[in-house]
Symmetry: C2
DNA sequence: TATTTACTATAAACATCGGTTATAGTATAA
DNA sequence: TTATACTATAACCGATGTTTATAGTAAATA
């Protein structure tokens, strides 16, 4: 292994600048220093890394390969340094959570409240992003914990279930009556028939939920007359309540509306499978004490509700 | 950003050795040199990285965080160096492919043959491993190309479809007759009934195929009287041909057996959705010329069969 | 309790490696 | 042709990181 890692730093800078002189400016050292450093690295690795010309330099094929790995390496290190900086600025009580906007409002905020009350000294940062981005951020170490729906391909993560969610289809009574009128019948309609005559409202494609629902729809061979895509669950619920069509929403988030009859849940012959939502964290990465505290907090919580749950409510 | 990356190398070594003295031995420099280097790094980062004692050193919480990132960095770099070494040893014509054992025999080998014939100078290395491992290897740069079934969560990859596969259930005629006898009827049996009375043979849990089939089974509410798990598709087919039960296999791989009647395909009301199999590669990573050549080769291939396919065969 | 052992830290001397300045060479643009 | 914007080479030099030597500390052993 190359012993002098400063050479990699120089290599990295030159490759980005595509130009030895400007790399020199960026690194605040002289042009010949860089020139020599690159030559040295090439000698040590026994590989030509750049094509030189009077217009600058260009990575060779091998240089390109190396650059990719070196870039990763430096990103990793600067990430590490950022983490340390964060600790200094904000103290050790710092916790960053990645979560989708849907889950943020309805799941994270409620369960976060008791933790924040008990641990006011712990700074919490929340990044709303897609579940996929959250998983990426976890892998890069950009967030400590993610709140996401369980999927396959989570081998790299430890998953701590928090709640189970059930996707259902809802609409207003008015809307459904409307559909019935259109078909000229008073007889009870099948789920599939209602569906075929309705406007279906879903989250847009980026959403994991949407992918999940799409799979269900294709498996059950369900198609709607019309489709509307919406970017947030809140909007989706609003659209449903104004009687625009049938929306696919998470049951727990519309309990009130179901209770007072503003929304009706469509009866389905085969319901959409339930999904686990929970905290995920990289099982290789080390944790700050406060992250551990957070996880313990919810592990206890889960234990308690598991015990008291059956008797309560 | 810390300017002296050699300090990180020393830090990395010390953290692994948990001991300054043995790190000194490993790095072939003196113990005081290390001791000072670590102090310097701590000063620069403004962070205590190790607890010292007369028994050695231990990472602090912050040190642990940093170590995680630094480890990543060095793994990346040594990966890069290995790639270069590979190129030197084997010349530029080197291509490594990750593939599951199932797909290797039935998919990769046949389609690889023409490529190898046309490009005898290109060294090819094939690693048989699970699809998950293949994706990991792609991300680490350990293999250039993976041959895997398409799934969700492939945002990081470019996917080049090669064929479509269809999972089906097969058994010998003898076996099915047997099942009928047991139920004391000559009437044609439903798929579900036959299933409930049979031994079902599947690949074991690690396999992506299995996960796919499991999902189907639970959605269709299918259960078998007995289950056998097998580690390879070859074995599975053998088991089916000896009349041990109903096996779930990939249709294209048993065409001969279906043609000459050694195996029968069970008719299903809802068939298992088809799956795409194809080459995947990281869309961020650069490619050696020969990797590009490989991809182009199959892109052309796909183009040709798409054009000539309808008229041919 | 004394002694040995296995660590890390500090100090001073010193050599090396990587930096600087100065200059030459080369391709492209004006 | 000249000007410009690059990279390469040479000779020199000094900071940085090395070494040796020594001290300090905690645990293990007698």
């Amino acid at each position: 292994m190359e012993q002098n890692f400063n050479l990699y730093h120089i290599f990295y800078t030159v490759a980005r600048c595509k130009n030895i002189s400007s790399a020199a400016r960026e690194l605040y050292i002289s042009q010949p220093a860089i020139s020599k450093a690159i030559s040295r690295l090439e000698t040590n690795l026994n590989t030509r890394l750049f094509f030189r010309s009077s217009r600058g330099v260009r990575l060779t094929e091998e240089g390109e390969l190396l650059f990719h790995q070196v870039e990763n390496a430096f990103l990793s290190i600067s990430h590490g340094e950022e983490q340390l900086a964060r600790i200094h600025k904000l103290g050790m009580g710092y916790l960053s959570i990645g979560v989708s906007s849907t889950l943020c409002k309805y799941v994270l905020l409620p369960i976060l409240r008791p933790f924040v009350r008990e641990n006011p000294h712990i700074q919490i940062s929340i990044s709303c992003q897609s579940s996929y981005e959250t998983m990426q951020a976890l892998e890069k170490g950009a967030v400590d914990i993610g709140l996401i729906g369980a999927t396959d391909h989570m081998e790299a993560f430890t998953f701590l279930p928090v709640m189970e969610i059930q996707d259902i289809f809802v609409a207003t009574r008015t809307y459904l009556d409307h559909v019935k009128e259109r078909i000229f019948t008073d007889a009870p309609l099948s789920f599939k028939t209602v569906f075929a005559e309705s406007t279906l409202m879903l989250l847009n494609k980026e959403n994991i939920t949407r992918q999940y629902v799409d799979r269900y729809l294709s498996q059950e061979n369900l198609t709607a007359a019309q489709m509307i895509e919406v970017s947030s669950l809140d909007l989706l619920i609003e659209f449903a309540k104004t009687g625009l069509g049938i929306a696919c929403v998470i049951r727990d988030f519309v309990l009130d509306d179901l209770a007072d009859g503003r929304l009706l849940q469509l009866k389905m012959p085969v319901s959409i499978p339930k999904r686990q939502v929970g905290f995920a964290y990289l099982n290789t990465a080390p944790h700050l004490a406060c992250v551990q505290k957070f996880l313990d907090f919810f592990a206890d919580e889960a234990g308690r509700t598991a015990k008291t749950g059956p008797q309560g409510t």
